[in-house]
Every structure is written in structure tokens, then in C-alpha cells.
């Protein structure tokens, strides 16, 4: 319909991206790569919002604005997470999740 591309194609792409993020979140041990997996998941959810907005409710803009807000939340989350990662690196000389096992300051 819209551009001759069915809605399911977009959703399948977003699903594969989301579960790639899940796989990475389970297997990775480095904090930064785990953060990258979370970004992948957030991004795939954004695609879903935008596609539902465009195909199912083209007269409204809820999905569009919601993904704008999700992008802002992702940006602030990344900033705080990276500050915490740098602090952890300063205390442990490593950002491996298996080596950071103390809550000691």
C-alpha cells in the first residue's frame, strides 16, 4: 500500500533487530557493548512506533512524537551510563561485568 511495501516487512526487520539486541545483551561481558545492545533494542522499538503511526493511524502523530521522546530518553540514558562506566573503570581498571563484583567505595 504505502510505497508498495507491506507493513509486515518493516515489523519483521524491527523484530530481527530487537532480538539481535537481546542476543548481544545476554552474551556480551563488556559494559559498553551491553549498552550498544540496549541501543539496538530501543531503536527497533522506535521503528515500530513510526511504522504503526504511518500505516495504521496516518491522521495522527502520536507514534512520531513518542519516538522523538524515546530518542531523547535514549540520549540521556547513554550519557549517564557512560559516566557510570567511566567511574567503574576508574575504580576497577576494567569494565568487564564479571570483574566488577564489589560495592565498595
Amino acid at each position: 500500500m504505502n510505497n508498495g511495501i507491506p507493513i509486515e516487512y518493516f515489523l519483521v526487520t524491527a523484530t530481527l533487530m530487537f532480538f539481535a539486541g537481546v542476543y548481544g545483551f545476554i552474551t556480551r561481558k563488556n559494559l559498553i557493548t551491553m549498552l550498544m545492545s540496549v541501543e539496538l533494542m530501543l531503536n527497533s522499538v522506535n521503528i515500530n512506533f513510526v511504522v504503526f503511526n504511518r500505516y495504521l493511524f496516518p491522521g495522527q502523530l502520536e507514534g512520531h512524537f513518542f519516538s522523538l521522546f524515546v530518542i531523547a530518553v535514549a540520549a540521556s540514558e547513554a550519557a549517564v551510563a557512560i559516566a557510570i562506566i567511566i567511574n567503574i573503570y576508574r575504580n576497577f581498571q576494567s569494565i568487564d561485568v564479571e570483574k566488577t563484583d564489589e560495592m565498595k567505595f
Binding site: Y23, R28, N43, G59, I82
Partner: protein, 170 residues
């Protein structure tokens, strides 16, 4: 096959391939660059859906901001040519089973669902409309989430500075 469909196939293939490479690459800087490719292809999908403003925000904030932040912290915390040891086989198998099962479940659900396409005329999303929606309230107004996001950004900025500040050790 129209040009639109060819472009969609190229971009979605790029998204799938590079997101899998992002989570499997053993060099961290390469993983960050693959993530950048995923985010740029996503913004190309937004352009194809005619949401130009959202695509520009995606390019500047995600591809320009977050990836640069991630690359900086990679450079601060690890050696460039350091290779991760690959995760234990059992862990990889379990993770692959979990994610493939989840993907199959979601894809079968959404292929069996019938989506009812909207019949209203598509809205032309121009800057005027976006700006007016962000500062109006009531129907189609987003003033409250806009203010909340501004407070959240301020709080995140202060928190990032405070957390990353070097504390003098005695």
C-alpha cells in the same frame, strides 16, 4: 519491482546484517561502527516513510551524538586492537536459542495478525505542525512530555557531570 522496494530491501538487509555483526564482532571499535551503520539505515527508513524531521533527529542525535559518545568511551577504557575472547559455547547456544525462539514467536504472531490500515488522509508533517504540537496542549498537544523531557535532559546532564567527576582520594 519499484525503486522504493529495492531501496527498502537494501536498507533492511543492512539493518539486519549490521545489527547481527554489532553483537557478534569481537573488536569493540568495529562493533561501534556497525552500530553506526544500523542507525543510519534506520534513519533512511524514516526518510522512506516521509518523516523527514524524525530522520534528521535520528541522524544528528543517534548517529552523531550517541555513537560518538560510545566511541569516546571505548577509546578511554580499552585498547584499540584488543580482541574479546569469544563467549562460552554454552552461553552462546542458550542466547541464540532464546533470541531465535523469541523472534519466531513474534514473527508468527505478527504475520497471523491482520492490520487494518488507516483510512484518514495522511498528515503532511512539516516543521510548523511539529513546533505547534510541541507547545500546545489538549488534543494533539505534547507540551507536558516536552517539558518532562527537558527536565530529564537537565537532570541527566548534571548527573553525568557529577558521576564522572574525579573525586580526590585521600
Amino acid at each position: 519491482m519499484s525503486g522504493n522496494q529495492i531501496m527498502f530491501i537494501v536498507f533492511s538487509a543492512m539493518i539486519v546484517i549490521f545489527s547481527i555483526l554489532t553483537v557478534t564482532s569481537r573488536k569493540i571499535l568495529r562493533a561501534a561502527v556497525f552500530l553506526l551503520f544500523v542507525l543510519i539505515s534506520t534513519s533512511a527508513l524514516y526518510f522512506m516513510l516521509n518523516y523527514q524531521f524524525l530522520a534528521a533527529v535520528q541522524l544528528t542525535l543517534y548517529a552523531g551524538g550517541i555513537v560518538v559518545l560510545i566511541i569516546f568511551s571505548v577509546l578511554l577504557t580499552s585498547h584499540i586492537d584488543e580482541k574479546f575472547e569469544s563467549p562460552a559455547l554454552l552461553k552462546r547456544v542458550y542466547a541464540a536459542i532464546a533470541s531465535i525462539l523469541g523472534a519466531v514467536l513474534v514473527i508468527t504472531t505478527l504475520l497471523n495478525n491482520t492490520f487494518v490500515p488507516g483510512t484518514e488522509a495522511a498528515k503532511d508533517v512539516n516543521m510548523n505542525l511539529i513546533g505547534n504540537s510541541l507547545i500546545s496542549w489538549g488534543e494533539q498537544g505534547y507540551a507536558l512530555p516536552f517539558e518532562l523531557i527537558s527536565i530529564l535532559l537537565l537532570a541527566a546532564m548534571i548527573a553525568a557531570i557529577v558521576v564522572a567527576k574525579k573525586i580526590k582520594t585521600k
